[in-house]
Amino acid sequence: MTGAAMTGAAMTEAAMTTMSAPAPTGRFGEFGGRYVPESLIPACAALETAFREAWADPAFHEQLSRLRSQYAGRPTALTPAHNLSAQLGVTLLLKREDLAHTGSHKINNVLGQALLARRMGKSRLIAETGAGQHGVATATAAALFGLRATVYMGERDIARQRHNVFRMELLGAEVIPVTSGSRTLKDATNEAMRAWVAAVDEAHFCLGSVGGPHPYPWLVRELQRVIGEEARAQAPAVPDVVVACVGGGSNAAGTFAGFVDTPARLIGVEAAGGAAMTDGMPGVVHGYRSMVLQDAHGQVLEAESIAAGLDYPGVGPEHAHLGATGRAEYRTVTDDEVLDAVRRLARAEGIICALESAHAVAWVLRAAGTPDLPTGSAVLLTLSGRGDKDMATLAGEVR
């Protein structure tokens, strides 16, 4: 279903229920939930309570907004991509999460969770990371709040995102290589959850995207909502299309949340090798029910993307719901398109974005002028992060 098809009363009704709080069971339609070992249930419940209370507390919002503006560099700019727009025949606006402190939108989520962790009296953060951006953000917030940080990262990701590994260590975090499975984000997430079970009293699990057990998908989307809300306020008008890359789906969820009540089409762009929305089936991993890449027997498949942050077989449950209801649409792009997109954006606009973010750019490059993105469209694209972490990959040194 296209945005154009979704108008009038139908849209208004959907808008009122979409991207608000999930059902009490943590469900977005058929997706979400809290599929975790009993050992983690009280911690999830406590987090939910803490979040509900904090989110209703003006003092919390004030703390958060002070951190955002005084520390994290928010609001981030909304940049008109004049040159690409002229080349493509669309009007392209870039929401610049690459300008946020630590270099991606991940800091939005982590600052909120660190505040919650402090509220809950935790002394430690445990996190999983793929591209290392969430790990860096976690290490950053831990340093700022005087918490210990332990970050689980797949061995393969450690090799291709060494830059971020070094940053985490410089920030004082402990980075633990994960050698099981695909040695990427999926396995790092398993390992982080195992570590959380063993340290649930002292540690907050600082989950990096809109997956995981309830309340994480909701909590993280709310903390990332700032992307979409800022962009909505900054944009001259509601765009025709809002686009963002989707790994776990947090930058997309945060962006979409600002536009879900408008007629804008919402497009999430997945890595062709990690496209849970496109190639997955409903399943349960990492504590939530959503679309999951899996084989005919229910074994979870290893994703395969040049972008470590999208190299993940699941996707946040709210995206599964947005996809099922047709409110958002999901596309895929290949590694080669992504590499080309990084270069084209760099040369046209002087912005070196992350490989993850380049997925959204790659879709616009491909779709502009086709029925999927007609000439003249106004496009708002969230550039989720900067490319500094990817220099080794782009230089062809690792892959």
């Binding site: 070992p37 050992s39 499975g181 063993a198 409903p282 399943g283 991993v285």
Partner: protein
């Protein structure tokens, strides 16, 4: 009598059924059949390795159930499947998939119980109905941090026994039984008449004995799987399990009143 539920990762070796039979011969009250999953979130390194080894061999739920069906005439011990939610719910969006079908397939292969550590009681409704319909006991788990009201509900809704997760950690061997084991078993026994089996980290017959003094038996997993991974034969494992059996029987001697529980343990031997 104190129950002994040894755990076996299905398909860990081509002759994995022989390990099952060895457990049976050694006096297991039931055997937990681990259906290997790619992402065993609650398992430590040993059972992860065991699962990986099985999956690399290409086993599937279907092949495992086929193996069990083929061995049916040799199996007298009750079988309890242990696996993760994704395998249980697999295909639930399609006809012929989902937990109903899954439970029916288990039952057809002679399995009578099911443990799914990442389906807590709140998420268990649909699965419980499916299990009941198929004649499968859905065993629920309780953890040291489970609050009283939840514990009561778990006690109410679990079937066959309550699985007491002895420690706030993953599966895996440990130097000593966790100090959280006994208080948890006690709390569970206060809210239910079901037997309480203590699992996670029971590594030696001595630890099993200690645990059995608070609960009604034990689940032993990683300690056995490590030996299988190291190349021990079914016969070696029979000896190993027999030692656990002996330790539990010894506890029975100490506490003659424990016999009352044997009634519910099914057709052991």
């Amino acid at each position: 009598m104190k129950r002994l539920n040894p755990y076996l990762t299905a398909g860990i070796t081509p002759d994995w059924i022989d390990y099952l039979l060895a457990f049976q011969a050694a006096g297991a009250d039931a055997v937990e059949i681990g259906l290997p999953f790619s992402d065993p979130m609650l398992d430590g390194a040993t059972i992860q390795r065991a699962s990986d080894q099985a999956l690399r061999r290409g086993v599937t739920v279907t092949s495992i159930l086929d193996d069990l069906t083929a061995a049916r005439e040799h199996i007298r011990v009750p079988l309890i499947a242990m696996t993760y939610a994704n395998l249980v719910f697999h295909g639930d969006a399609r006809p012929g998939g989902g937990p109903e079908a899954f439970c029916r397939r288990l039952a057809a292969a002679g399995i009578s119980g099911l443990i799914v550590p990442d389906v807590p009681v709140d998420e268990a409704g649909h699965l419980q109905a499916s299990a009941t319909a198929a004649g499968i006991d859905l065993v629920l788990l309780a953890a040291p941090v489970t609050p009283p009201d939840r514990l009561a509900e778990i006690g109410r809704r679990s079937k066959n026994f309550v699985y007491a997760v002895s420690i706030m950690d993953t599966t895996g061997e440990r130097d000593a039984l966790a100090t959280t084991a006994a208080p948890l078993a006690e709390r569970i026994k206060a809210v239910t008449d079901l037997p309480v089996l203590i699992g996670f980290g029971i590594s030696t017959p001595e630890q099993a004995a200690t645990a059995a003094r608070s609960g009604d038996g034990v689940v032993v997993g990683a300690a056995l799987m490590r030996r299988v991974l190291d190349g021990a034969s079914p016969d070696d494992l029979r000896v190993e399990v027999a030692a656990f059996r002996a330790a539990l029987d010894q506890v029975d001697q100490e506490m003659p009143d424990a016999r009352a529980h044997t009634e519910v343990s099914g057709d052991r031997r």
